[in-house]
Each structure stands twice: as structure tokens, then as C-alpha cells.
Symmetry: C2
Subunit: 150 residues, 2 copies
Amino acid sequence: MTREGMIESLREKGLKVTSQRLAVIDILMEQRVLHPSAARVFAAATGRGYRLSLSTVYATLHEFSRHGLIKTLEFDQRENRYEMNPEEHINLICEGCGRISDYPVSRAVSEETLLADRGFRVRRTRMEYYGFCRGCLRGGSSRKPRAGKT
Amino acid sequence: MTREGMIESLREKGLKVTSQRLAVIDILMEQRVLHPSAARVFAAATGRGYRLSLSTVYATLHEFSRHGLIKTLEFDQRENRYEMNPEEHINLICEGCGRISDYPVSRAVSEETLLADRGFRVRRTRMEYYGFCRGCLRGGSSRKPRAGKT
DNA sequence: AACCAAACCGGAATGGTTCCGGTTTGCCTT
DNA sequence: AAGGCAAACCGGAACCATTCCGGTTTGGTT
């Protein structure tokens, strides 16, 4: 999704295009590979001169997520992260440095199978593999050593 | 894993077998299909006459999880849940009633593939499908209508 | 029976996120 | 171009499941 595409989406859904939302969109586009947290989006935005509050960043990300423009990766101990990749994939989450990368893969069980088999209607999925990335395995070059719960 | 098996595991790992831990084990065994939360374990335990504190329940579950006796299902907004099923499976999580059920399935991508392909070493996985269970689809018989974030 | 690290306890602290009510603003109408 | 209004924004207070604290108890070993 491009910056213009997101703005287009806002209009389609009847959401207002505000300077704060544009700021969030810009940062999200720029940091998409990082799967940024709300705090990071806020820091990056203000650090670059945009004017908006942390509350607004939270509200905006929540709204974008609610409308399917982005996806929220919810965690218990670590802060939530946001991703823009709409394709089906597994998130590889490094417990050493906290980095998240995508690994494309098709859904393990089809929606139809689950519905027929269990009467369960899938709305969204979440697939995560926790472990250590190449860098952290290789003598922990590590940055931000953010271990999850062991 | 049986009650006796868990006690055995505690001894093997050098963990003390206390009355509080036995209480938690009993409740976990009894409520295994429910994937109970810490609060529920606590309530069930005290309600049945066991004497232990909520702090201890948290500490115990954390310890069991750390040693691989159980697995913690971490959530952001809702409370964490704990499961005893050691098999590879997908957790079907109903956004209507909060019920969690298991759907056995083999790992989508093998450990070896990921290591060769990305240099990523998998330590644990998490696969969840969110949606609505049979009961909630059929006119929301619903109990505990616990919606996650939309 | 003594010893000690591990486990337990209640209560205070934590911290990412949400809520609150009051103010500002995008956008539709005229 | 001005008016009107619901949506969006804001800072600060509130939330709450979980963790932390230090002081006490206890399982298991010597």
C-alpha cells in the first residue's frame, strides 16, 4: 500500500484526512520493515517536526487497524507493533534484538476446512515464530536486547 | 501430562513440591480444556479450599511455563491463558465468548528450512486463528461476551 | 535437628494503553 | 466565503493484569 493509497482509503471509509494522520502514514511508510511500535511512530514523527500527541498516535493506529489499513501485533510484555504487509505470512520475532521479519507462507488450514470441521469462522490469523535471528546467533551483535518472557 | 507426571517433572528440575504448586496442578488438570487464566486458576483453587495467594499463582504459572511444563498464551488486552497441550496445534480463539480450542496441525515451515533460508533459529511458535465458534455464530448463545480489539 | 535457598505472602509499583472532557478542525452546505 | 457539526485532537488521569519488594515460611538436604 502506498502513501496515496492509504489516503485514498481514508476518504473511502469516510475518515478525515488530518495532518496528524498524514504524519503517521509517512512514518509507517518509512519504517514499514521495522514493524514499529506506537512509541516509535510518535518519536519518529515528532523528531521530524510533525506536531501530534501520543494519544493521537494510539487513536490513529487503532483506527487504521480497525479499518484494516494496518495490522496490530499485540504482545503482553513488550509493546504492540504495527505492520503494513497485507500478505499471509509468519512473523519471525527475534527474542534477542526484538526485530520482526516476515516469512511468506500460505495458511496452514483453510477457512473452509475449519468451518466444515469445527463450525469456526476465521476472521483474522496470527502466526509467530519466536527465536533468534542470524545476527543474534552470531555472537549477539545485538542492539536493544529485549528479551521476552523466558 | 498427568498430575503425577507434572510432580515428577518438578522433582527432575529441582523445583520444590509445595502445597501451593499441587493446588495449581490440580486446577490445571481439571480445567485443561478451558485454557484457564491466572485469575481463574486462583479463583478455582481458593474456591475449593486450597490456601494460596494470587502472587503465588502468577509465580507458579510463570515457573511452570519457564520450564516447559505448560505454555503461556500471552494477550494484550485480555488476560493471559495457560495451556497444557504439548502437541503442535493452532488455537482457535472465539472473539464472541473467549473460548479457546485446539486444532492439531503440523508446523507450516520446518525449523530446518527457516535456519537454512533465513538463519533464524526457532525456539517456540504461536499460531492463533481469531473468529467465531459454532455457538456464537448460531445466534450468539454467548457467555462472557469478551470482544478483543476490533 | 539444624540449615538455607527456594517459595510464599500482601501490598505497592509498573507501564503500555485507554479513557475523559474540553478544544480544535476537516469537510459538507448554503 | 462563512457557518455548522461531528470527528479528531489534546494532556493528563485512570486502568489493570502482571511484576516487584522485603519479610516470613518451608521443603529437602546434611
